[in-house]
């Protein structure tokens, strides 16, 4: 199995995971159209992360003209240029599938605000 582990490790990006479930993230995704290449930004709520190693994926949900759109991105894909955290969310679950059934204000995730004093104590 060592060979397979080495092959998978080669493809994994380092320090990609600087975000958590519930964060609003901006994903810069490269799109190849024939010869031209452009970057498309997909901004939404990080609902879930699945699998491990090179296969690790993230599900991002956004509302587009009143319709919910979800995309699954392979985290280590070379087509992802960068991932930006727009807003940190405070959630108590690892999978936020309940958001799908909520409408309006109920579909929001509270913002995580860390007090400086509490972090200093730790």
């Amino acid at each position: 199995m060592d060979v397979i582990k080495a092959i998978e490790l080669e493809q994994q990006k380092e320090n990609v995971e600087n975000f958590r479930i519930g964060d609003t993230v901006k994903i810069y995704f490269k799109i190849i159209e024939g010869q031209t290449e452009r970057v498309q930004i997909f901004e939404g709520l990080l609902l879930a992360m699945k699998n491990s190693g090179v296969r690790k994926t993230m599900t991002v949900r956004k509302m587009s003209y009143g319709v919910g759109v979800e995309r699954v991105f392979p985290m280590h894909s070379p087509r992802i240029e960068k991932i930006e955290v727009v807003r940190k969310g405070r959630v108590r679950r690892a999978k936020l599938y309940y958001i799908r059934d909520r409408v309006g204000k109920a579909a929001k995730v509270r913002e995580l605000i860390r007090k400086k004093s509490t972090t200093a104590k730790k």
């Binding site: 199995m1 060979v3 397979i4 080495a6 092959i7 998978e8 493809q11 490269k30 190849i32 090179v54 296969r55 392979p74 280590h76 894909s77 070379p78 087509r79």
Partner: protein, 206 residues
């Protein structure tokens, strides 16, 4: 026919040049040695005998070890390839870089044994309804005609031992040739369990 002996390491996924996650089988190809050559003048046909995977001399019989004599240590696997198209001579060592310029390969191996299986699994028969009064579920159905010929023809598809047979998968795309790891990656699955011997050949139909 061009080919080498390899070992199926297992399956994984890699990103290809377009950034698409591709399922691949990893095949380890360590030094293959040309052990013998058959020529038209001497043997009536031309071929190349290739050996791979070292074994200790004490673990093989003397007549078997005798084939290797001065060429190399005894090898576990010996495969004769008819009409080997590459220019090689006895004692040459061939590695993964052999597949550098080859885009598609056929992979031959021994499939996993499935034991005694019914006709549905073994020959893709359809079977009958499960409910609505049906009394025909997973059986064979008819196996022949009537008073003439009054026998079942040989080779009729029936239940029996499945798997553990020589199987070739054709036209698998070579995704990557890794010379450091001595590894070849082909798209898709390859017959047999992990750690089993496979023969990787240049694709016949591409």
């Amino acid at each position: 026919m061009l080919g080498l002996i390899g070992k199926k390491v297992g399956m994984t996924q890699v990103f290809d040049e377009r950034g698409i996650l591709t399922p691949v089988t990893v095949i380890k190809i360590e030094s293959n040695v040309v052990v013998a050559e058959r020529t038209i003048d001497k043997n009536g046909y031309s071929s190349c005998v290739i050996g791979a995977v070292d074994v200790k001399k004490k673990h093989v019989t003397k007549p078997y070890a005798g084939q290797f004599k001065e060429i190399c240590d005894p090898k576990k696997h010996l495969v004769e390839m008819r009409d080997f198209e590459a220019d090689v001579s006895i004692g040459d060592v061939l590695g993964v870089d052999f597949f550098k310029d080859i885009a598609f390969v056929d992979v031959e191996g021994t499939s996993k044994g499935k034991g005694f299986q019914g006709a549905i699994k073994r020959h893709n028969f359809s079977g009958g309804r499960a409910t609505h009064g049906s009394k025909f579920h997973r059986g064979l159905g008819g196996t022949g005609m009537a008073a003439s010929p009054s026998r079942t023809f040989k080779g009729t598809k029936m239940a029996g031992r499945m798997g553990n047979a020589k199987t070739t998968i054709q036209n698998l795309r070579v995704v990557k040739v890794d010379e450091d790891k001595k590894v070849l990656m082909v798209k898709g699955a390859v017959p047999g369990p992990s750690q089993s011997m496979v023969i990787v050949k240049k694709a016949k139909k591409k």
